[in-house]
Amino acid sequence: MIFTIAAKELRSMFASPLAWVVLAFMQFVLALIFLKQIDGFLQVQAQLARTPNAPGLTEIAIVPMFGVGSMLLLMSIPLLTMRLVSEERRNQTMALLMSAPISMTQIIIGKFVAMVAFLALINLLILAMALSLLAGGTIDLGLLIANLIGLTLLGCSFAAIGLFISCLTTHPVVAAILSLAVFLALWIINAAATDPQSALHLISLLKRFEGFLNGTIAITDLVFFALLTVTFLVLSIRRLDSDRLHA
């Protein structure tokens, strides 16, 4: 049932040009970064060989791609999540789901799974570029996997938050702008705290994500992203349920 809903969401996503534009835009920017970094690597390759503990091909060409990828997700996920629930409200299509023998949990998880599938597609494109380097060199697969996990977890958190915000309003555009604002705030919230012990560092997505970029998969970071995702999924379910109770 979850997959029925997810399949429908993906179909609707790709029925509009938006998903294609987002994918094309991301691929274009990421490919540019990738090329530029490889170019840079080739120029300094000789020097790097002489330097002890020098950064390798993976650090120079692949990690920046993931760094930029995270920013691109931050900007594009609001566009993808905005219509998940708000549009159903606006077009009054929610009644189809509400009167079908399915639970609110299945509806929300289904929509979330659709987003995860879309994120997987983005990750696949990035992965394909990274793996293409294997044709002419060696890459640090461990670091690549850490980066992939990091970007996936970040994307899932964004998707869950965006989905929740979409549940709050009937206007997709409002949901998109609100989501973008929340993502940005969470991203750079640690900038507000000079004190390294501040709690703000704990909830900063950038801080958490940096660990993965450096190749560290910390349990605390995994748990943080997982909790963030689950929390907002539960909030979305509650919110949808309250429609039935109080609307």
């Binding site: 029925t4 609707s12 077009n91 009054q92 189809l96 509400m98 079908a100 023998p101 639970s103 609307a247």
Partner: protein
């Protein structure tokens, strides 16, 4: 007054009373562990006649929006093969009542029972037996008709093997056979309405609930949709909401009239006809007498002047002033040229209904809800 509570768990306490009388368990799919029947249920206002099978029983449904009671203690019982019209002016609470029956909205009080399954206790099992067409058909405009109907079928847990058949059958019944590959967004309003109906019947539900299915359609389409609804009524139970009185007369077996969220009239169609026809006459005279003279003649019926020479005679039940009027017109040379039962508009029926203190027989009496309180 029924107890008002939003909490479905608290509501469970009232279930003993809320669950309508013993439901005949002809359907094998009814779970064996359904609620035990308590003795007090036999005192419930709703009857428990064994045949035919009761498919839907709503008891004491109420819904509060802030201080506004949108639906107030509405009860409804539906047997297989029955078409019930839910009639009312705009804002009477028809849509709210339907949303509660389909599980789109949680009732503040009351219970809904679909084929013996409580909607609050087992929402998914109960919803599987209901087909619902909301006021605005819930259509994904970017999908094709076939895709959309397949989606609706899957959402209603139809097995893969029978999905294609179900889509074909729903399309045939709704007159969409050639429209399978069309994008829903490109269909006309009438066809979109048909897709909405096809969606509601695709899983062969026991109860079909249609919220104003003929609004905005042209007369031909209205006729086609009406015949479709009549056909549905052969196998399913249908609830149909409308504010068009002739529509109810044309299709429905029974009628419930809502006004300000309350049921003000509930009877078979014949009862409604009698209610309308026996009460109001339109008299057109070429040489009309004074209003007073006419009033005295037909007492205790009341006379209103509609326009010059045209009077409306409103008689209390049991009185028929037709003969009196005919005779008087001949004797006094009034030049009667038209005498017809006035086609009371639905609004007039409401006015009549809401004016009366004791509403006509057939309205569920209050004992059921008092017991629940």
């Amino acid at each position: 007054m029924a107890a008002i509570t939003r909490d479905p768990f608290v509501q469970g306490r009232f279930r003993g009373v809320g669950t309508i009388a013993k439901l005949p368990k002809q359907d094998t799919r009814v779970p064996e562990n359904s609620d035990p029947i308590s003795p007090e249920e036999n005192e419930n206002s709703m009857s428990n006649t064994a045949s035919p099978e009761v498919t839907l029983a709503a008891v004491g449904l109420s819904r509060r929006y802030g201080n506004n009671l949108a639906v107030d203690d509405v009860s409804m019982e539906l047997k297989r093969g029955e078409i019930v019209g839910l009639l009312g002016p705009n804002g009477a609470g028809k849509t709210t009542a339907m949303k509660m029956i389909t599980g789109n909205l949680a009732p503040s009080a009351g219970s809904v029972n679909v084929c013996g399954i409580d909607l609050i206790d087992k929402p998914t099992a109960a919803k599987a037996r209901i087909g619902y067409l909301p006021e605005v058909p819930p259509l994904y405009k970017e999908l094709r008709v076939d895709e959309y109907l397949r989606l609706a079928g899957r959402l209603h847990r139809l097995p893969k093997s029978s999905l294609a058949d179900a889509v074909q059958r729903a399309k045939r019944r709704a007159g969409l056979t050639d429209m399978g590959q069309r994008l829903i967004g490109s269909l006309s309003k009438g066809y979109q309405q048909r897709v909405g109906i096809a969606q509601a019947i695709i899983h062969d539900p026991d109860v079909v609930i249609l919220d104003e299915p003929t609004v905005g359609l042209d007369p031909n389409q209205i006729r086609e949709i009406r015949s479709l609804i009549r056909e549905l009524g052969n196998q399913h139970s249908v609830i149909l909401s409308t504010h068009i009185l002739p529509e109810v007369e044309a299709i429905c077996d029974r009628v419930q009239i809502l006004h300000h969220g309350k049921v003000v009239f509930a009877d078979a169609i014949a009862g409604l006809r009698a209610f309308r026809g026996g009460h109001s006459l339109q008299v057109s005279l070429r040489r009309p007498p004074q209003l007073q003279e006419l009033s005295q003649l037909v007492q205790p019926a009341q006379v209103e002047q509609a326009s010059a020479g045209v009077f409306r005679v409103i008689a209390p039940p049991g009185q028929d002033p037709t003969d009196q009027l005919l005779r008087a017109s001949l004797e006094r040379n009034w030049g009667l040229y038209q005498l017809s039962p006035a086609q009371a508009s639905v609004e007039e029926v409401f006015v009549q209904l809401t004016r009366q203190d004791e509403v006509a027989a057939g309205v569920p009496n209050k004992s059921g809800s008092e017991a629940a309180a």
